[in-house]
């Protein structure tokens, strides 16, 4: 059905409107995928929570994640704060700890809100770095791959370099570098980004290889368009859609990697809260204060699942073979 629709509407579109971009087509078929749409809704809510959380925890006193209340240690979720013992400035919102408190009496809700922004930005910046490297290397290898310097071609050099990077056991490499470098949240983002671009590079390269032979690119070349314009205006948008898939899944795995690093003690250091280090601190209190373990654990599960489902939905929407099988 989808195929016949496209075929029928082509000639008309060609006449009166610019044809639908690949991204809009993608969105159309994505809308039919219920799991992926659920994922998108969850991610949308998460973005709001992260931005609101950043604002609330930075600028308001009642949601300050660093407020220590030693009289209110290990209060379960929904517990009422011991209001008379606390100074007004460190009372929680509406006088209750909605998600409980931890071993220092810090409000878990405030820490989770702060952590959502930090965790998400680790995911996004790491993936941003990996995608920029991946697209650049893959694009250069795909477009200028035939250029030769003596016996070796550009494509050969870049792809061998990609092979070299693929040979490192990724998590072990991340662990080594993060452990040796001074602990900082930026190092973690950069290291995760620098060790995860290989898939994107291979993707973009093969995409560019096939695009280079296609009629519209050949036509653009024949018209004498500058290379810059051919690459960025004609080829890049067509190669970009599959990158979205690996980006979405990449954010998911970056968040998981951060929590694994936190577990081993190399994660983001205090005073920053991330979901990963709330979880790994919480594991010590799994019997006394199970909410410290389950709240961040389940949140990570839901968010990573949402990213994965969106990525899978994109992949299915992009894969023409699967689309044909569907109907």
């Amino acid at each position: 059905m989808a195929i016949s629709n496209v075929v029928e509407s082509r000639p008309q579109q060609a006449l009166d409107a610019p044809s639908e971009g690949p991204l809009r087509e993608l969105w159309k078929s994505l809308k039919r995928d219920r799991l992926a749409m659920t994922g998108i809704v969850v991610l949308f809510l998460l973005m709001i929570a992260a931005l609101a959380g950043k604002a609330l925890t930075e600028w308001t006193q009642i949601l300050d994640p660093a407020t220590v209340r030693l009289t209110d240690k290990f209060r379960p979720p929904m517990a009422r704060a011991a209001a008379e013992d606390l100074p007004v400035a460190s009372r929680p919102p509406l006088g209750r700890y909605w998600l409980g408190t931890d071993e220092l009496g810090r409000d878990v809700l405030a820490r989770m809100l702060q952590g959502s922004f930090v965790s998400l930005s680790i995911g996004f910046i790491a993936v941003g770095i990996s995608i920029i490297i991946g697209i650049t290397l893959g694009g250069v290898a795909g477009f200028y791959g035939d250029l030769k310097f003596g016996p070796v071609s550009v494509d050969g050099i870049l792809m061998r370099f990609t092979d070299v990077m693929l040979c490192f056991p990724t998590f072990f490499l991340i662990l080594t570098v993060v452990a040796l470098l001074p602990p900082s949240i930026y190092n973690i983002m950069i290291v995760i980004g620098l060790t995860s671009w290989m898939g994107t590079a291979r993707f973009v390269r093969s995409e560019f290889f096939s695009l280079k032979e296609q009629d519209f690119v050949v036509a653009a070349k024949a018209l004498g368009l500058p290379e810059r314009r051919i690459i960025f205006r004609h080829m890049m948008p067509n190669a970009l859609a599959p990158v979205l898939v690996s980006a979405s899944i990449g954010v998911a795995s970056a968040i998981l990697t951060e929590s694994a690093l936190s577990f081993l003690g190399f994660g983001v250091q205090p005073p920053y809260a991330t979901w990963g280090n709330i979880l790994s601190d919480g594991k010590d209190f799994i019997f006394d204060a199970p909410w410290l373990f389950f709240i961040p654990g389940l949140s990570i599960l839901v968010v990573v699942l949402a990213f994965n489902l969106v990525g899978e939905g994109l992949r299915e929407a992009l894969d023409p073979r699967l689309r044909r099988g569907l109907r």
Partner: protein, 319 residues
Amino acid sequence: MLAFLTRSLAQRLLLLVIISILAHSVVHLAPGEPSQVDPSNPRMKPEDIARIRAAFHLDKPLHLQYAYWMRDLFTGELKSFKDSQPVLPKIWRRFLNSLPLFLCATLIVWSLSFPTGIQAALRRGSIFDRSTTFLAYALISIPGFFLSYLVILWIVDTFNVPVIGMRTFGMESAETSYRWMDRVWHLVTPSLMSAIGGIAVLSRYVRSQMLEVIGHDYVRTARAKGVVEDQVIYSHALRNALLPFITMFGLMLPGFIGGSVIFEQIFAWPGLGRLGYEAILARDFPVILTLNFIAAVLTLAGTLLSDILYSAADPRIRL
């Protein structure tokens, strides 16, 4: 074939050299030296630090250090910074510990994900398909240690057996059957935990591979000429769908080192991953570098193996 082998061996050797140089410079250029592991110790005088640095060749320029490392590695003289034990036997002992864990996990992954994936592909869109899809995504989305802790607690509560470590301390005098059951519990639990990610990924891959093959013309032809459905699926479709998985055999090898850090740490399993983690904490450069080197060798050997296996299995591909 011979030409292919020599060419790819030469290529891989070159890659290996580049990888080792890169790894060596990353580890050595990063701040933090083995001589600074204990900076607050008042007994460490500057001359002691200088002596340590000289003993480990840390005062030499980088390329000389690299040469020393390579020489010691290949003559088997390489010693750990931490305890002056020879590195290779140390790694070998840990490897023997990791091996059962790896084999058991691999067995679980392959024996569970193939039936699941094939069934999901055959009943595409059914409740089974949708629930396994969802389950697979849920399983790769859980932080590994979160799930492991829950499973450990559950097993200890329900079955009253300890699962941390390689065996229960003090069981040496128990009867053989009890000792064996103890070993099995200690082995299967961490294997299952480290297999979970693999099951989720591989079953999805099997599913999409099966779906692709089932859409091909020869499957339709087989059905049209009246071949029994089971035979169509298992001897026409599955055999072709299996081809890409041969390459996965080779690509699994490096998972030995990188994939096991977390789970060996959780289950206190004295394997390779944990050795690497301890070496990183102690700035034990020879162990870190050698483990990395072995991982690279395994990866390169794995890709070569998968190329060869692929050409052996698929007559259309000639090397």
